[in-house]
């Protein structure tokens, strides 16, 4: 029986931090991709969280998204169209918040090498033992039929992804 999940690449951010985490030259030999991240960033203003963006193949147009979000006191929903990235799905803990807290995010990208538009699923949390913590379920679409060969995640306010943040990309085969 085929082993379905294979680790393609993993990144652990070093002491200097980084502006983005990039996966390049992703082979087309899998059916789906799954990206699992643990992230902490510098932020803008006195907020304990920040949103990330993610681009595929360096593409900066044609993204849309819809989100279900809860923060412990209520739930809501918002969406974006005509965006420049898969945005506001991946959340992080900001450095102003509780020390040593990192977000957890699961990104599933089915049929990434196929010829259809790229629909992805994101489940994300940034728990911090206080307010400003969110759970987000997101659906995202890139209206582009090119196979995904690279992914880049970055903070939408161009801040730094901090040390000890991790991101691991898995490939999944259905045969």
């Amino acid at each position: 029986m085929t082993t379905s999940w294979t680790a393609i690449a993993s990144v652990t951010v070093g002491v200097l931090g980084t502006s983005s985490i990039d996966f390049t030259s992703i082979p087309g030999t899998y059916t789906d991709l799954c990206l699992k991240t643990s992230l902490r960033t510098n932020g803008v203003g006195a907020v304990t969280y920040a949103f990330m963006g993610m681009t595929a193949n360096g593409t900066t147009s044609g993204y849309s998204d819809i989100h279900l979000i809860g923060n412990g006191s209520g739930a809501g929903s918002f969406s974006n169209t005509g965006a420049a990235s898969y945005r506001q799905s991946i959340i992080t803990n900001n450095s102003i918040g509780t020390a040593n807290t990192f977000s957890n995010v699961d990104v599933y990208i089915p049929n990434y090498a196929g010829s259809a538009n790229k629909s992805i699923s994101v489940d994300a949390v940034n728990e911090n033992n206080g307010t400003g913590a969110y759970a987000i379920l997101s659906g995202n679409l890139l209206s582009n039929t090119s196979a995904i060969t690279s992914l880049s995640i970055f903070q939408l306010d161009a801040q730094t992804i901090l040390q000890y943040s991790t991101a691991t990309l898995f490939g999944i085969k259905n045969t």
Partner: protein, 163 residues
């Protein structure tokens, strides 16, 4: 680098033409849980997407939903239905649905399924579904309430072993 062999591909189907429903039959009981990944869209309108197990078309299913439509969040439920609703799909919009079916092969408990669907033209959300049967799940049917899946839609079934 293969990490382990606990998550295994069981079967996959890619539609060559528009199809009303899709079946996985003769599912082995050798796993602990199942994962179903669906991509594609319907040929018409916005459709509910459903699961049935073991060809049971009786009203033995129920579903509880939480979802957001881009403006507000809501939760609802249905009882005594003929299938578990696992998503809402919109024609012309590529979507994905991820379904986890826990402890599917035991013959003691009713079966539950947890799904996540993503449709940027309609809503995103999560559902938990219940099939009131103690039978081991040996087949799965995926269908739409009043449309067909477009050609090129994909359905992949994985098995997860606990040990």
């Amino acid at each position: 680098m293969a990490i382990d062999n606990t998550y295994q591909a069981i079967a996959t189907q890619t539609l060559g033409s528009a199809t009303t429903s899709l079946n996985f039959n003769s599912i082995s009981g050798a796993y602990t849980d199942l994962v179903l990944i669906v991509t594609g869209s319907p040929t018409a309108a916005t459709q509910g997407q459903f699961l049935q197990f073991n060809s049971d078309t009786s009203t033995n299913y129920s579903t509880t939903y939480i979802y957001g439509d881009g403006t507000s969040a809501a939760s609802t439920r249905t009882s005594s239905q003929t299938g578990i609703q696992i998503g809402n799909l919109t024609s012309g919009v590529q979507h994905n649905t991820i379904v986890q079916i826990m402890n599917y092969s035991n013959t003691t408990t009713y079966k539950t399924a947890l799904s996540r669907y993503n449709n940027t033209a309609n809503s995103t959300g999560a559902q938990v579904g219940l099939w009131r049967s103690t039978a081991a799940i040996t087949s799965i049917t995926v269908y739409l309430n009043s449309s067909t899946f477009i050609a090129g839609s994909t359905f992949s079934l994985y098995g997860i072993k606990a040990a």
